[in-house]
Amino acid sequence: MASVLDELKRKEIVDLLAQGKRIDGRAFDQPRPLSIETGVIPKANGSARVRLGDTEIVTGVKIQPDKPFPDLGDKGIFICTAEVLPLAHPDVEPGPPGEDVIELARVVDRGIRESGMIDMSQLVLEKDKSVIGIFADNSVVDHDGNLFDACSYATTAAILSCKVPKWEIKNEAPVLVEGHESAPPITTIPVSVTMGRIGEHILVDPNAEEWDCIDARITITTNSDGNICAIQKGGNDGFTVEQLLKCADISASAATKIREKLKQTKG
């Protein structure tokens, strides 16, 4: 239910867009300032604290032996979760994740998984019986819009910064071999770029105020080759084909700088 204040804010945003301006002064294809710090949770195998504008995420990666999924006995496991903490925004209530947060976690998960970022075939301890599992958990501590990209960068950075322990199978059980950590088997660096459409305008990385006004949104993830490896359209309106093609171009171009930044977090 839009309040009068919300309506005024929306009008301000739309009027500015007509003049070619965004409410925080950014160019349409310009994401907010991104800062990435890794190793922030020493007890995790990998971790990152990401700020994208005023959106802030802390992500920890735990690595431990697990059983493979049925029919995928020659692949390791990757599982990604997200929680928007109630301290991140006044509207968040504690409790099990709603559909928004479930979508968030699944979109971040797919961006990593479908890009083939991690070579899962290198995470097998004993085929069909024991594999290495990588669990990436995102804790959203400040919510100022576009959690998709912020969580995606935090997850990617946390994975890149990982030290993977070594296990050997003894008596059919994995046993930790101390002091033999290695970098994870990385094949590419996926970069998620989320765009919102307000009228005819496509805005990269909408902040919370813009997010409340968008007609539709799309998250396009590209890999290191510039190819598209995951897409999620959302929001209560659609895109024309022309807009979709334009979004793909914007996404590939915006991803380049961000990928460079992510590369530097490699352990």
Partner: protein
Amino acid sequence: MGGRESTLVLLDKNGIRCDGRKVTEPRRIMIKAGVLKNADGSAYIEFGDNKIIAGVFGPRDVHPKHMSNTDTGIIRCRYHMSPFSVTERKNPAPSRREIEISKVIKEALQPSLMLEKFPRTVVDVFIEVLQADGGSRCAAIDAASVALADAGIPMRDMVCACAAGKVADTIILDVNNEEDQAGQADMPVAYMPNLNKVTLLQLDGVLTHNEYKKCIETAIDGCKLVYQIQRKALTDKFFENGGNQ
């Protein structure tokens, strides 16, 4: 996706797919409108081996009340799979996958509905997958849109949905289960043919920018085929009822 291996020949040298189809040929699609007594609108679809039923209630009062909106009607959507719908018996509780698909289907249908005419109300769309095959979310949207029309909800356009994808480095229409498992990319698309808008777009797998363009165009061609079948389902029901009354 992204490099899964398979001994299956997904595309033979004559351009024929593993289930005998040509590259731009959809699976068999059958839609029947008005299949339920109690629902305000309903439809049943068979799309390949998908068997899906959609039922619509509304516009009606919202419970709990705090969810209602004084400015407009709202839409809720539940996509659910029966325990027997897949090879391994599925737990009846909704999975995270079903919750996400419910959300993207809701957002795919919403642009077609004139909900602003019915403030404080809700349109409930319930989708049950009795048997699942590749492309179940597209088939679900196709049935749900017919059920919404069957319920008489004022609509701007139909929403028709079909996937495209990539197997053996070729863009194909309407990815089946084996192609989804062993292929290179799957892109479900929902489309409003008269308003010319894409309302659902997802992608699993890797595409170049050219392939991306071709995939969208191929999927939209499929959507237009579906549209004719949706129209026929509604016409058939209209005349069937006319004939009976």
